[in-house]
């Protein structure tokens, strides 16, 4: 059995009060509670304050480029589907720079768990607007107010075919830990959008802001109902933020549909292909 210490690397360098602290602890707790040790998981980190978790969490890890954690995660999963693969990314990372990858990972139902630190601002580059920043948001890159409307990550993932979509809050450790656990246990593409205050650069979407606007989905909520999920996703337009599993459906993951993996032997552990003659025959 592993414990939180086994997963703990360097001491984090996040700002005091940053939502990242909560997410970091929740991720480690979720992994411990699911019975994993650091040598049994792959975590791919994007670039940003979120990605800086690379040094604070122990695992077989990739600290990727900005926006590219998702394709790295897909590749690692396909090469060794026995290991759970988690992508730890930010909103600019995943909904901006790497937006195209997100769409295609959803539609492919790749069995990776994407944990988005959605703080609605660019932190590491010291306060520019993000794809999830509210319209009118004044930032260093939009001093006159942001013109675009924000991305709706939940609705985006839902309409592009993600089979698990959840939302949680960095200030609720228990809810977040449980949500991450459910995401990891889900077979297929999982998106967990974590509402995360940035205490330094986002003076609008604060802990207080969220505490007034978040609410937990109750047991009666039908997470298999696509239309209900769409409604819940769109509540962001009214600044209401449901927490919990917004949508979950059972669908074969991408790797489960690759005939080469039907024998359940991972790609890296297969025997070398030795019937080259069969291929050469095509060229006679």
């Amino acid at each position: 059995m592993s414990n939180i210490q086994d997963f703990s690397g360097y001491n984090p360098t996040w700002c005091p009060g940053c939502g990242n602290w909560g997410i970091g602890v929740a991720l480690k707790k979720a992994l411990v509670e699911l019975g994993y040790s650091p040598d049994q998981v792959v975590i791919v980190f994007g670039i940003g304050c979120s990605g800086n978790m690379n040094d604070f969490v122990n695992a077989y890890a990739i600290h990727s480029l900005h926006g590219r954690a998702i394709p790295n995660a897909i590749g690692a999963k396909l090469a060794n589907h026995k290991m759970p693969v988690i992508a730890v990314v930010g909103d600019g990372d995943c909904y901006g720079e790497g937006g195209n990858h997100l769409i295609h990972a959803c539609r492919g139902n790749h069995d990776i768990k994407v944990l988005v630190h959605d703080n609605r601002v660019y932190g590491l580059t010291t306060g520019q607007s993000a794809p999830t920043s509210p319209k009118g948001f004044k930032s260093k890159s939009t001093p006159l107010g942001l013109i675009e409307a924000p991305i709706n990550p939940l609705a985006l993932a839902l309409t592009q075919g993600a089979s698990f979509i959840a939302q949680s809050f960095a200030g609720d450790l228990i809810h977040l830990t449980n949500t991450i656990k459910k995401a990891i246990s889900h077979k297929g593409f999982s998106l967990v959008n974590v509402l995360q205050p940035c205490v330094t650069f986002n003076k609008i979407n604060t802990y207080e802001y969220y505490l007034k606007r978040i609410y937990k989905l109750d047991e009666k909520y039908e997470k298999e109902n696509f239309n209900e999920a769409l409604k819940k996703s769109l509540e962001a337009n009214q600044e209401k933020f449901p927490l919990g599993i917004i949508y979950q459906s059972e669908r074969l993951a991408y790797h489960q549909q690759i005939s080469q993996l039907f024998d359940d032997i991972s790609l890296i552990n297969k025997n070398k292909f030795d019937k080259i003659e069969d291929i050469i025959n095509y060229f006679k």
């Binding site: 077989y60 890890a61 590219r68 394709p71 690692a76 090469a79 990858h101 295609h104 292909f273």
Partner: protein, 577 residues
């Protein structure tokens, strides 16, 4: 014996398939073939032409003139007639068009035959194949076999239906042009079994032999047939082939798979490669092996998608921000493509860094026959070398235990041991940031310098252990030395043969290992004052620049071609009039 055949027609009417069938027939009969295809970036309309040179002996380039021109439409004649000579035979349908020029006319009534047999326009090809085989004295048996292989899945009726068109074309010539029939394609008695492969086929085949487990690509001419080859073989080979959403995803998926332990490759052309470049640099610092197949076409931007150019050499060598080692290899023909592909996968694993195989449309889409025996030799000789990859739990007495494993350990040769993710008791991160030996991020001066030096030492090790000097062809002591790289090999060898017959002796330095270059060794090749002639299929003399930069050698005289066509014999020999 050497002759050339060119078949042309409207795009979308099966010219490519027909040309390749002809190459395969000649190869199955025991002859050497080399072919090249011209086509516009269109699915329908426009002009397609497929040119094949057939010879008794090994031959390196297409014949300059066309001996047999098969016109499936008038356009073919108009566009190709400048390549004909007095004895050229033009096969065409008089009902379709006629011409005044003084070439030997062979009327093959495509329209009439199709009407008679109730076929479709696309069957002109089959009639033409029957006709040309008759003119060349071949037995139609081989064509019938190939038709059978091609259509067997559709049933016997379709097979014999198609065969009837070939038979008609064949008879038409036998009955009406008996005097023109040559004995060129009589099945050889002592024939060697051969395969006919394009450069892309050769890379595909090479990657399977090399045990590449993961291939990722986004279609882009002229690299696409690697993707379609490998995808169509995956149920046999077990390779996982992903057609990703864009080239950025392509290389990053492959890097993820490579990190997890699968030999991985990507394929693209210049534009797609441009999108991969940031991630190439990531592979450099995180030290993740990756093979990149880069098949060039004329740029910039969309350029001329279906034509050829060696215009991406400098881009390939210097692709990626920051400084990191990379290896660029440029095969000169299809056989070298197989050889170097096998090497590339080993080099990527040994040096844990990107290895680029540089091809171009001419090499990628042109076919050539290779003796099957040579392929068998390559396969038997090949040893997979995964470098310092630990696939099992290291011995406990070794210095690294949990937390002490140093993924980026400073070593003399610059290469550190790489652990297969999932080995119990260990973990590490492949870091795109500068890092300490254990993989954790650092911005301190000393570890930064240590890691930069370590990565740079991989090049020193490579130059010592794996770099190969250029192959030297012809007379190395000659006063005239051609210098070139990659796909221009064949035409320069032909030019050498031609010049030899005119008593002009030449040597030829042909570079496969184009980057990095070994300065001291290469300088010695250029010590004597001679007439060095650089030959390249681009306008900047890119290899000349690279040579100058890496070794200080400057070559003044240049033969450059950059109209999208491969260099031809005249481009070279006219320099000697």
């Amino acid at each position: 014996m050497i002759f050339s055949v060119k078949i042309g027609g409207e795009a979308g009417f099966g010219i490519m398939t027909t040309g390749l069938l002809f190459s395969k027939i000649a190869s199955r009969l025991g002859y050497e073939v080399i072919d090249y295809v011209e086509y516009p970036s269109l699915v329908r309309g426009g002009h397609n032409a497929y040119e094949i040179t057939v010879s008794d002996e090994k031959n390196n380039a297409l014949k300059k003139e066309i001996d047999y021109l098969i016109c499936l439409n008038k356009d073919t004649f108009l566009k190709q007639k400048h390549l004909l000579h007095k004895e050229s035979i033009v096969v065409y349908d008089k009902e379709d068009f006629d011409f005044e020029e003084n070439f030997i006319k062979v009327n093959l009534p495509f329209k009439k035959i199709i009407q008679e047999l109730k076929g479709q326009a696309i069957m002109k090809n089959t009639i033409a194949l029957g006709g040309i085989l008759a003119l060349l004295g071949a037995d139609i048996k081989v064509l019938n076999e190939l038709i059978k292989e091609q259509f067997l899945k559709k049933g016997e009726i379709i097979v014999s239906f198609n065969q009837s068109f070939a038979q008609k074309g064949y008879e038409q010539i036998k009955n009406n042009y008996f005097s023109l029939i040559k004995n060129y394609l009589i099945e050889k008695k002592d024939k060697q079994e051969k395969i006919v492969v394009s450069g892309n086929d050769a890379f595909s085949l090479g990657s399977v032999i090399a045990d590449c487990r993961f291939y990722c690509a986004y279609p882009m001419t002229p690299s696409s047939s690697v993707l379609t080859n490998l995808a169509s073989w995956q149920d046999k080979t077990n390779m996982i082939v992903r057609h990703a959403e864009d080239e950025i995803s392509v290389i990053n998926t492959a890097l993820g798979a490579s990190f997890a332990g699968a030999r991985s490759a990507v394929g693209t052309s210049g534009g797609g490669f441009a999108l991969m470049v940031e991630s190439l640099s990531f592979a450099g610092i995180a030290e993740i092996p990756i093979v990149v197949f880069l098949a060039s076409r004329p740029g910039p931007a969309t350029g001329m998608p279906t034509w050829t150019e060696q215009g991406d050499l400098l881009f390939a060598c210097f692709a990626g921000h920051g400084e990191f080692p990379k290896i660029v290899l440029a095969p000169g023909d299809q056989k070298e493509m197989i050889d170097l592909t096998l090497k590339a996968f080993n080099l990527a694993d040994i040096y844990q860094t990107p290895v680029i195989i540089l091809s171009d449309m001419y090499l990628s889409e042109g076919h050539r026959s290779i003796d099957k025996k040579l392929i068998d030799e390559i396969i038997n000789k090949y040893k997979i070398n995964r470098g310092k990859l630990l696939t099992e739990k290291p011995q406990e007495n070794q210095e690294f235990k949990i937390l002490n494993y140093k993924r980026y350990k400073i070593t003399e040769d610059g290469i550190s041991e790489r652990l297969l993710p999932g080995i119990p008791g260990y973990f590490y991160q492949a870091n795109s940031y500068e890092h300490l030996e254990d993989g954790h991020t650092t911005e301190d001066s000393k570890p930064r310098i240590d890691q930069v030096d370590k990565r740079n030492r991989k090049w020193i090790t490579y130059l010592k252990q794996d770099f190969q000097m250029p192959n030297i062809y012809g007379d190395k002591d000659a006063q005239i030395i051609f210098v070139s790289w990659g796909s221009t090999k064949g035409i320069i060898l032909e030019a050498q043969n031609y010049l030899e017959k005119k008593d002009i002796k030449t040597g030829f330095y042909h570079f496969n290992y184009v980057y990095p270059l070994d300065k001291e060794k290469i300088k010695k090749l250029f010590l004597e004052k001679k007439r060095y002639i650089l030959v390249e299929n681009n306008s900047w003399a890119q290899f000349g620049k690279l040579l100058s930069m890496e070794t200080g050698v400057e070559i003044e005289e240049k033969i450059l071609r950059y109209d999208g066509r491969p260099i031809n014999l005249d481009d070279i020999i006219l320099k000697f009039n």
